[in-house]
C-alpha cells in the first residue's frame, strides 16, 4: 500500500456533454460487490432526465446527419479511449461485479471489441437493411433505415460494462441519441465509459448517462412522450411489463430481453431503426 493519500473522484452525470451533479443535489452510496464503500454517486432526478431528453433531441439530427463514416470514426475513437484505460475499467468491473482480475479484464476486452463491432456497423446498416426495391412502375424506389430518434436505455443491472456497451452503442451507431440509466448498484464502469465518450468527438447530448434509482428513473423515460424508443433490459419481468405499457402511450419502439446480448444478432440494432422508403418518378 502506498502512503500517498488517493485522490478520489466525484461520480457525476453525463448530460449534454457536461458532467453535472444531479440538479436535485442527491447522491446515493454505491458499494462494491463485496460490500465496501465505493462512491457517492449522483442520484439523478426527473429534471435531470428532462434535461437529458432535451439535449438528446437537440443533438440527434446533427448526429444522424453527420456521415455514417464519421459516426463510425467517433465510435471507434471511443474504443481507443477505452483501450488506453482498460486497467481502470477492469478494476471497476471487478469491484462492481465481484469478479477476479482475469475475468474483469476479459470482460473489458469483450466490451471494447463490441464497441468496435458497432463502429463498423454505422456504414453497413443502410446496405444491409435498406436497398433498392424493384417496384412495378417507372419509379426509383429505395429504402433507407433511419434512426427512430431518441432512445432510452435502462441498463442491465448485472453486466456493468459489457451489457451497457451493447445497449448504448446499438442505437448510437444507427444515428439515435441515447439517454442511459446506469445499473443502479454497479454504475461506475458506465460512468467511466461516459467520461471516455467526452474525449471521443461525440457531439454533446448524443449520449447522456444518468445514474440513480432505476425504479424512479425508468418510468419517467418510459412515459416521456419525446422518447421514441426504450430498451428495458435492466428491469425484471414485471417492471418491464409495466414500463412497456407506459411506453405504449407514445407508441415507442420497445426492446425487451432478460439478459444482455453477446451474439451477433442484429435485433437490438434493428429495433431502433425505421425503414424510410423514397419513391421518385423516372422519366425524361
Amino acid at each position: 500500500m502506498s502512503d500517498r493519500l488517493e485522490v478520489r473522484k466525484t461520480y457525476k452525470l453525463l448530460v449534454n456533454g457536461a458532467f453535472p451533479r444531479s440538479e436535485s443535489g442527491r447522491t446515493y452510496e454505491v458499494l462494491s460487490a463485496r460490500g465496501e464503500f465505493l462512491a457517492n454517486v449522483a442520484q439523478g432526478s426527473r429534471k435531470d432526465l428532462r434535461d437529458a431528453v432535451v439535449a438528446a433531441r437537440a443533438a440527434q439530427s446533427k448526429w444522424w446527419s453527420s456521415s455514417a463514416y464519421n459516426r463510425g470514426q467517433v465510435i471507434y475513437r471511443c474504443a481507443e479511449m477505452a483501450e488506453s484505460r482498460r486497467a481502470e475499467l477492469a478494476e471497476h468491473v471487478g469491484l462492481a461485479e465481484g469478479v477476479g482480475a482475469k475475468q474483469s479484464a476479459k470482460s473489458v476486452a469483450r466490451a471494447i471489441d463490441r464497441i468496435i463491432w458497432y463502429a463498423g456497423w454505422t456504414d453497413k446498416v443502410a446496405q444491409v437493411f435498406g436497398g433498392a426495391n424493384p417496384v412495378a412502375g417507372p419509379f426509383f424506389n429505395f429504402s433507407v433505415p433511419k434512426p427512430c430518434g431518441v432512445v432510452a436505455v435502462v441498463a442491465s443491472q448485472d453486466s456493468s460494462l459489457e451489457g451497457f456497451v451493447d445497449q448504448v452503442f446499438a442505437p448510437l451507431c444507427t444515428g439515435n441519441s441515447v439517454i442511459a440509466v446506469s445499473s443502479e448498484r454497479r454504475p461506475t464502469p458506465s460512468i467511466l465509459l461516459g467520461e471516455m465518450t467526452a474525449t471521443s468527438d461525440f457531439p454533446p447530448g448524443v449520449l447522456n448517462i444518468v445514474t440513480g434509482v432505476t425504479s424512479e428513473l425508468a418510468p419517467i423515460l418510459a412515459s416521456h412522450e419525446d422518447v421514441d424508443g426504450i430498451d428495458l433490459t435492466g428491469l425484471d419481468q414485471s417492471a418491464a411489463t409495466e414500463l412497456h405499457a407506459l411506453a405504449a402511450g407514445s407508441i415507442k419502439r420497445v426492446f425487451r430481453s432478460s439478459a444482455h446480448d453477446t451474439s451477433s444478432s442484429t435485433r437490438r440494432l434493428r429495433t431502433f431503426i425505421d425503414t424510410s422508403t423514397v419513391w421518385h418518378t423516372i422519366g425524361q
Binding site: S61, S65, V128, F129, G131, N133, P134, V135, A136, G137, F139, N141, S143, K146, C148, G149, E225, D228, T241, E242, H244, A245, A247, A248, G249, S250, I251, R253, V254, S265, T266, R267, R270, D274, T275, S276, T277, V278, W279, H280, T281
Partner: protein, 488 residues
C-alpha cells in the same frame, strides 16, 4: 376568357352517361359464417350483424359475430395447423400455395372488385385497378420469398413466430388482408384474421379462394366481428404475434395489452401526411398528385396527403388550380366506372369528418367544398379544401380520414421540413420539385416511413410501407415485411 366560365364549362361538358358495373357479378350470399379450420361455421353464440352498402344504406349480407369462444376456436385451429401441418410444409410448397392464391385472386378479380366497392363505397375504378390487382401482387411477391428466407438478411434458417393474430381496417379490406396474410404465410406462420366490422365481405370471398386453393385447414382462419372480437384476439394467450392496422388510439391500447405477454407486435397506425410543394414543381402533375393524395379512396387512407404545404410564392396559383380541379371530381355512385370519389364508409366516419370540418370553419380556415350534387341515400361528403390553415388548427393536426385537405404555406425548404415534421405522426409525405438535390435533402430530413417524390399514394408489394413515431412500427411489403413474421 373569363376564368369562372372556363371552370364551369368543364362541368357541363361531355356529360358521361352512367356506366355502372353490374352488381350481380358479386354473387354475395345472404349470410356468412366464420371461416375456422377450413370451413364456414356458425358463431357459437349465434350472434350476427349486417354489413351495409354505404352508398345506398342497403343491407348486403348478414355476418357472424365471433365471440371469445370462437376466437379461441380459431386460435386453436391455427395452432394445430401450425404444429401439425404448416411448420412441416417446406418453403417451396408454401410458395406454391401462395402462387395459387395470387392466381385465384386474379381469376376472380372482377367479382372481388365489385364486392369491395359494394361493401366499402370506394369507386369501382379504384377497386378494379388498384385494390384487387395489388392484393394479387402481394401474394405473388411473398410467394417467392417462402423458400428464400435464408437470403432475406436475417441470418440463416430464420424461424416463424407461430400463430399470428391480424386485425385489419375497413379502408382497403382485401388489400390489407393480403398485406397481412401473404408475408405471414410465406414466413411459415398460421393466421387468424379479423376483418373490419363494416367491410367483412371480400375477406370472406378470400376464404372461399383459400378453399379453392386447398390451403390446409386452419392455416388461415377468418373471423368477423367488432372491437370485442379484436380485443379477444389480442388477449388470447395462444397468439404469438399481433399485427394491427388502424387508428393510433386503438394501436396504443393494443401495445399496452401486449406488454404483459411475449407477443410480437407490429402496428400500422394513423397519419397526417404533408404533401410539400415547391415553386419549381411540375405544376399540372403536382395538382393531380395533390388530388390523388387526398381524394383517393375518399381520403380514407392512413398515408393521405392531408396537409398541403405549399411554397408561399405559388400558393395562390396552386389554390386556384386546385379548387378548379376539385370541382371536376365526379362524386357519386361508386359502381359507376366514371366515378372519382365514392361514399364515406359509415355513418360514424361521416359524423367524425363533419365534426372536424365544422371545427375548421370555426377556427377561421377558409372552406371550399365542391358544388357537386350528393346522392340522397348513403353517406357522402363533398371533396373539401381548407385554405388559410394554421399549424395549430385541429384540421392541421388531427387525422380526419376523409376527403378534406388543409392548405398551409412555407417559405424555405427548412421551414417546409420543420412544418412537415411538426406532428406526432410520421407515415407518409410527398415532395414536389424538379430539383433532385433538394428533393433528396428534404426526404432525408422528413420523419416519415414513406416519401413520394413527384408522385403520391403509390403502393407496391416490393416497397416497404409503415410509419415512424405514433404512426406505428414494423414494415409491410418488401424484404423488410418478412421481419414482422420471423423470430429474428
Amino acid at each position: 376568357m373569363n376564368e369562372k366560365n372556363l371552370a364551369n364549362s368543364q362541368l357541363g361538358a361531355l356529360v358521361y352517361d352512367p356506366a355502372p358495373e353490374s352488381a350481380s357479378i358479386a354473387r354475395i350470399k345472404s349470410s356468412y359464417g366464420l371461416f375456422i379450420d377450413g370451413a364456414f361455421t356458425e358463431a357459437s353464440a349465434h350472434e350476427h350483424f349486417v354489413t351495409l352498402n354505404p352508398a345506398t344504406e342497403e343491407v348486403l349480407a348478414t355476418v357472424s359475430r365471433a365471440s371469445d369462444a370462437d376466437v379461441d376456436r380459431a386460435v386453436r385451429s391455427a395452432r394445430h395447423a401450425y404444429e401439425k401441418v404448416w411448420s412441416k410444409t417446406t418453403g417451396a410448397e408454401r410458395a406454391k400455395y401462395l402462387f395459387r392464391i395470387a392466381r385465384l385472386i386474379q381469376e376472380r378479380s372482377r367479382e372481388l372488385a365489385v364486392v369491395e366497392t359494394l361493401d366499402n363505397g370506394k369507386p369501382i375504378r379504384e377497386s378494379r385497378d388498384i385494390d384487387i390487382p395489388l392484393a394479387a401482387a402481394h401474394f405473388f411477391y411473398y410467394a417467392g420469398w417462402a423458400d428464400k428466407l435464408d437470403h432475406a438478411g436475417y441470418g440463416a434458417s430464420p424461424q416463424p413466430l407461430g400463430v399470428a393474430g391480424q386485425i385489419i381496417p375497413w379502408n382497403f379490406p382485401l388489400l390489407m388482408a393480403a398485406w397481412k396474410l401473404a408475408p405471414a404465410l410465406a414466413a411459415g406462420n398460421t393466421c387468424v384474421l379479423k376483418p373490419a366490422e363494416t367491410t367483412p365481405l371480400t375477406a370472406l370471398v378470400l376464404a372461399e379462394i383459400l378453399e379453392q386453393a386447398e390451403l390446409p385447414s386452419g392455416v388461415v382462419n377468418i373471423i368477423t366481428g367488432d372491437g370485442s372480437t379484436g380485443a379477444a384476439l389480442v388477449e388470447h394467450p395462444g397468439v404469438d404475434k399481433i399485427a394491427f392496422t388502424g387508428s393510433t388510439e386503438v394501436g396504443r391500447l393494443i401495445q399496452q395489452r401486449v406488454a404483459s405477454s411475449a407477443k410480437h407486435l407490429t402496428l400500422e397506425l394513423g397519419g397526417k401526411g404533408a404533401n410539400i410543394v415547391f415553386e419549381d414543381a411540375p405544376i399540372d402533375e403536382m395538382i393531380e398528385g395533390i388530388i390523388d393524395g387526398i381524394f383517393f379512396n375518399q381520403g380514407h387512407v392512413c398515408c393521405a396527403g392531408s396537409r398541403l404545404l405549399v411554397q408561399e410564392s405559388i400558393a395562390d396559383e396552386v389554390l386556384r388550380r386546385l379548387v378548379r380541379r376539385v370541382e371536376q371530381l365526379r362524386v357519386g355512385d361508386p359502381m359507376d366506372k366514371n366515378t372519382d370519389v365514392g361514399a364515406i364508409n359509415s355513418a360514424a366516419q361521416l359524423a367524425r369528418i363533419q365534426e372536424l370540418t365544422a371545427f375548421g370553419e370555426r377556427e377561421g380556415a377558409t372552406r371550399y367544398s365542391s358544388a357537386c350534387t350528393l346522392p340522397d341515400k348513403g353517406y357522402w361528403f363533398a371533396p373539401t379544401v381548407f385554405a388559410d390553415v394554421a399549424q395549430s388548427h385541429r384540421i392541421a393536426r388531427e387525422e380526419i380520414f376523409g376527403p378534406v385537405l388543409s392548405v398551409l404555406t412555407f417559405r424555405t425548404p427548412d421551414e417546409a421540413v420543420a412544418k412537415a415534421n411538426n406532428t406526432n405522426y410520421g407515415l407518409a409525405c410527398g415532395v414536389w420539385s424538379e430539383k433532385g438535390s433538394r428533393t433528396l435533402w428534404v426526404a432525408e430530413r422528413l420523419r416519415a416511413g414513406v416519401i413520394w417524390a413527384n408522385t403520391y399514394n403509390r403502393f407496391d408489394p416490393a416497397s416497404p410501407f409503415g410509419g415512424v413515431r405514433e404512426s406505428g412500427f414494423g414494415r409491410e411489403g418488401g424484404r423488410q415485411g418478412l421481419e414482422a413474421y420471423l423470430n429474428v
